[in-house]
Every structure is written in C-alpha cells, then in structure tokens.
Symmetry: C2
Subunit: 147 residues, 2 copies
DNA sequence: CGTATATAGATGCATATGCATATAGAGTCA
DNA sequence: TGACTCTATATGCATATGCATCTATATACG
C-alpha cells in the first residue's frame, strides 16, 4: 500500500490486505492440524465433499474443477491422486466419449467423515473461538456478496 | 460441512467457508492481472514493501520471514530469486556471524512502485468495486481482530 | 574453558503447480 | 461427408514448495 489520495480506495486496500493476511495465516494452521493427524490436504476434502453431494450420479471432472475453482491440469492430477488412494472411482462417460464420471468410494466416504471431525475442530480452534457471533454473521453476509 | 447440531458453530463454519472461498477466488485473479503485465508474484511485492519500510538498516531474513508468515526455506529461496533479479542486496551481518542483512535496491524500488500501480488497480477491479463502504469498514474491524 | 543446545540460513530430494501443448471426441456448417 | 472449431482430459517440462537435514555461529551452563 502507498499514497493514493483516495480515502475510500485506501480503506478498501486495507480491507483487502487484512482479508489476504487472515486467510494466509489461518488456512495453513488448519491444514497443519489436519496433516498432523495424518489427513490429506483440504483440496481432497473439498473434492470428496462435492462428490458425496453429487451422490450416485457422480460428477464430471470439469464440473468438479469449476466448483473448486481449480485449473484443469490441477483437477486432472488431483483426480489421479484420489484414484490412486482409492477414494474415488472413475468410469467412462457413456454419452461423451471424451469424458469420465467420478464418484466417491466407501473408503472415500470414511476418510471424508473422519476428516470432517478434524477439520471442524481446527476451524473451531483457529477461527470460531476467535470471533464473536455478531462478527460471524457479518462475515457471512459481506463475503456472501462475492457470488 | 456436515451435521453438528450446534447452531453457533455451524454459522462459524459457514463464515469460514466463505472466507476461504472468497480469498481463493480473488487472489488468483489479482495475481493473474499482475502476471499479465509482466510482474513477479505478490510475495515479491510483499518482501520489497517490507524492505522499503525497513529503510537503510534493512532486515534480517528471519525477520522478513516472520513478517511474511513464510517457512524458513521459502524465505531462503525467495531471497535467492530477489537477489538474482537484482531487487535486493545482501550484506553479511556484523554482530551475528550466521546472519545477513537484506535491503532493497533502486531497481527493487522501481519495480515495487510499478507493481503497486498494477496491484492497486487489480484490487480495485476485483475487490473494491464489488463491496460498499460500510462493508469495507466492517471487514477492517472484524478481520483486524485476528492478531 | 568445554560441552550441550538453540538459532540463522542453505540445500538435496520428493512432490506439487504452472505452462504449453497433445490427443481425441463433439458440434457446426458448407 | 469433410473441414473447422470447440471442449474434455492428459502430460512433458520448468519452476515452486515441503520436508528433512546440514553447516556454522551463538548462547547457556556446568
């Protein structure tokens, strides 16, 4: 941040800086707690959660990729790892010869459930315990405006 | 997120999820704008900014590292890149034989200034233009409570 | 002093990410 | 149908990150 002579924008820059700093401070702590308990990265959790939501009809990789705001090649490689770990299953897509359909396996569901306990505890410890109810509600509303 | 039977904590989890999602959505866009204009990553900006703040007395790598919430080896490698680019200078520390002192070079100052224009524009476009004054102020207060 | 422990910083090796491009099937339209 | 374009997914190669460990100096303490 530097001089700009624009009060409103300066404040927005401050808010931006805090947003970035808070997330860059808290996310690694949460991830570290999960890792310390032997769990995979949060991206695995996000993918498995989406796949469970999708239920038995599964998801195409490109759908998951859009949902997770991932680059295509990162989705491709995350898929590899999840397949290798046995947490997702892949079948070829019948109506699109280029495509595949991913779905969560029972082992995937198990790890998702276990991760959720650890994740919830970490969110509580690093975030929820440090913010009051009113601020939580404000954040939900304000951040919810960013689509 | 899953069932927990705890209303307050559920809300905190929602706020957490939005915080993570907003930062994971906006940061890459901002970085992409900078990169499209030929600028280095934001971590370079942060380091150069801290070094400029420190002035002529410079900073020890470990101080910069703490300030930037970086792992030690990442600081070491960021230092390499900044040195190679000519944006920082390194001298040995007189009162600590293990240490060094980093300072920003004139080229570093130039790139910092130029990056700032692009960074400010990107913050405006992706963040400031999408949030109103009241919410900016709320964010500053709420996020400021985290450390 | 001498030994133990702590701190600053670097680095080899494994894994992850970004970038460019490849492959192959789908859609369009003459 | 054939030529073009578009979309879904994969991958080689370069760079970045994480992890463990190394070196060297500093500090503590008997």
């Amino acid at each position: 941040m530097a001089k700009s002579g624009d009060k409103a924008n300066d404040e927005a820059v401050t808010a931006w800086a805090r947003l970035v700093r808070v997330s860059q401070s808290l996310l690694p702590r949460v991830e570290a707690d999960l890792k310390a308990q032997g769990y995979p990265p949060l991206s695995w959790y996000d993918a498995l959660l989406e796949l469970r939501r999708a239920g038995s009809k599964g998801l195409r990789p490109f759908e998951l990729q859009q949902e997770m705001l991932l680059a295509q090649y990162n989705m491709s490689r995350l898929t590899d790892r999840l397949l290798k770990a046995g947490y997702v299953a892949r079948e070829m897509c019948e109506d699109d010869g280029r495509g595949q359909i991913l779905s969560i396996t029972p082992q995937g569901e198990t790890v998702l459930n276990n991760m959720w306990r650890a994740y919830r505890a970490a969110i509580r410890k690093h975030f929820a315990d440090r913010i009051d109810k009113k601020d939580v509600e404000s954040l939900i509303v304000i951040l919810g405006k960013f689509t």
